[in-house]
Symmetry: T
Amino acid sequence: MSNVYKKVELVGSSREGVDDAIRRAVAKAGETLRNLDWFEVKEIRGWIDEGAVQHYQVTITVGFRLED
Amino acid sequence: MSNVYKKVELVGSSREGVDDAIRRAVAKAGETLRNLDWFEVKEIRGWIDEGAVQHYQVTITVGFRLED
Amino acid sequence: MSNVYKKVELVGSSREGVDDAIRRAVAKAGETLRNLDWFEVKEIRGWIDEGAVQHYQVTITVGFRLED
Amino acid sequence: MSNVYKKVELVGSSREGVDDAIRRAVAKAGETLRNLDWFEVKEIRGWIDEGAVQHYQVTITVGFRLED
Amino acid sequence: MSNVYKKVELVGSSREGVDDAIRRAVAKAGETLRNLDWFEVKEIRGWIDEGAVQHYQVTITVGFRLED
Amino acid sequence: MSNVYKKVELVGSSREGVDDAIRRAVAKAGETLRNLDWFEVKEIRGWIDEGAVQHYQVTITVGFRLED
Amino acid sequence: MSNVYKKVELVGSSREGVDDAIRRAVAKAGETLRNLDWFEVKEIRGWIDEGAVQHYQVTITVGFRLED
Amino acid sequence: MSNVYKKVELVGSSREGVDDAIRRAVAKAGETLRNLDWFEVKEIRGWIDEGAVQHYQVTITVGFRLED
Amino acid sequence: MSNVYKKVELVGSSREGVDDAIRRAVAKAGETLRNLDWFEVKEIRGWIDEGAVQHYQVTITVGFRLED
Amino acid sequence: MSNVYKKVELVGSSREGVDDAIRRAVAKAGETLRNLDWFEVKEIRGWIDEGAVQHYQVTITVGFRLED
Amino acid sequence: MSNVYKKVELVGSSREGVDDAIRRAVAKAGETLRNLDWFEVKEIRGWIDEGAVQHYQVTITVGFRLED
Amino acid sequence: MSNVYKKVELVGSSREGVDDAIRRAVAKAGETLRNLDWFEVKEIRGWIDEGAVQHYQVTITVGFRLED
């Protein structure tokens, strides 16, 4: 009930778009962290090459429950 | 010309992504409010389950014209 | 190495969604500016008509390297 | 003594200026709400036509006391 | 699953402190709204009289699920 | 429909007040830019001389439609 | 050349509007402080009575040069 | 009616909690200032010693009416 | 003297209130980290059930000295 | 232990750079205030003349302990 | 007296530090713009290579007076 | 191409100034983390002793690429 959570800040990138960049960051977090619970978008940016968007980059914080 | 508008704050959620979460919140607002005119995104977050994004949640304010 | 960059602020719009609105603003910038390097999303909003989203509007700043 | 207040967000517009746009939004609120107590300015913007300011638009939140 | 929520902004006040001011605002909201789900603190302020704190005032937004 | 807009940042000043400082900045922009569409106030400040306000200074961004 | 300035925060109020509230706060500061140089607007709010604006209240910081 | 107020920024600390830290800062202000009217919380932080909270520290601005 | 500190972001929750939620987050951090030095409150929110506050949730960053 | 601190806002300027502008503002504060404890940088700006930086201007708040 | 100013946003970079990055951005602006008057620091970041700072990058806005 | 990055928040301190405090925080991070890529300055503050700056303290976030 009175859980404590930790937040870590990650940056996902994708050629497709914002939604996919978030999914990639969350998936990466899931490789090493358990009990992932929510994410919050902090910043959206990206890289341009030859006049077109190359990568969308989304900074998120991911919250996960600390185990007792 | 010198209209007055009201803004209400809504949170839409979607399994698909950010664009769809906005559409759902706007559609819900349209069920009870007339003269909807614009929206502004305030926050993007979401829920994670079993290490993957479950829902994107987007908080928007929706502006609509008050009738005379 | 010690380059100087300039940022310009653009607003792209799209019926499809946020990713596409960014792409359109970047493409427009590419018509007149060279050495485009990155973008940062500043604001997401949009217009509603007949109770449904008509356009997503995304304000971005685009950074490009100034030539010597 | 231990009152509870509610805040609503309104956008007033005026050809004259910022002060008048606030007055119009407050007056509109007064048509349907009682016990209006204070306002806070959140944003000032406006529309331009033929190179001149057409309307000042001021977003305010209006606070009013909820009755027991 | 893909619920839509609405947020309303309230100001609770209390002679005791911040926690109690939040409780009072939430309780008041519960008199007229169903499905209250969460709150977010936006601002903490208060009134002083004769050199001592008279009331703590806490502005919160309360989120509640809209029914289908 | 899917227009792209550009925003430029200007600072207008006036001895009269905030509304007039905005009008002057917009008028100046109109001398060299076409299709001006809206403005957003970013900052209000000013200069004082001999204990009285000398100039109101208002920083605005002006948005205008880029032509195809 | 390498002056040091101090900033104080004041709240001016006026029945007329924002410009006048600023003027009143600056004039009051000028009664006790010398070398007033500039002001910055931090917040605009006001009080409502009987459904109409009673006072505009503008919070400003006033900067003044400290003497050697 | 058209009063001018001044705001000063204080930091109160307490072993008990946030409410008490605010009370202590206000009480200290009351020792040297008259006509204290309201406070606004700007920041909440604190010091930790041996893995436990030692002091809550709350930064507030206190507003008081300047006398004519 | 020229120490380097690290900050981690935690979310504590409590049925009692804000102060207790902070204490719980700090205590949890103390189980695995040494040299905890200070905390900063980033966000206060909470969950509501049956029209009453169930948990206060406080997001803090905790700073601790890195050892040489 | 349960000290109360006051913060004052100063602007230091220097031809050399940011660090020196801070040192000058702190030194000036030390001429009239005792128990200076910490500073926080709020804003960095500066003046340009003939296409080169003339002065760096740094706004800081300085915290000092109020004596009993 | 009632001048209008324009602001442009630039990013200067330097191996030396923040002050030098600002100087470089201002110098570059001076190559093509006249009447440069002031700058404001918006963001400080930089690039790391092999575990050490390679470049400091400072985003500034530069204000210059528009000629009649 | 579609890398995921993590950000950690560090506080470097230095008697010399802001640039050096950043270098120290980055160097410390480099002792335990690989693939450090960039930093962002979040806050500049410092400690004062006997009326003079003793330490500059700079809070940065350091981004590094997570390995596959």
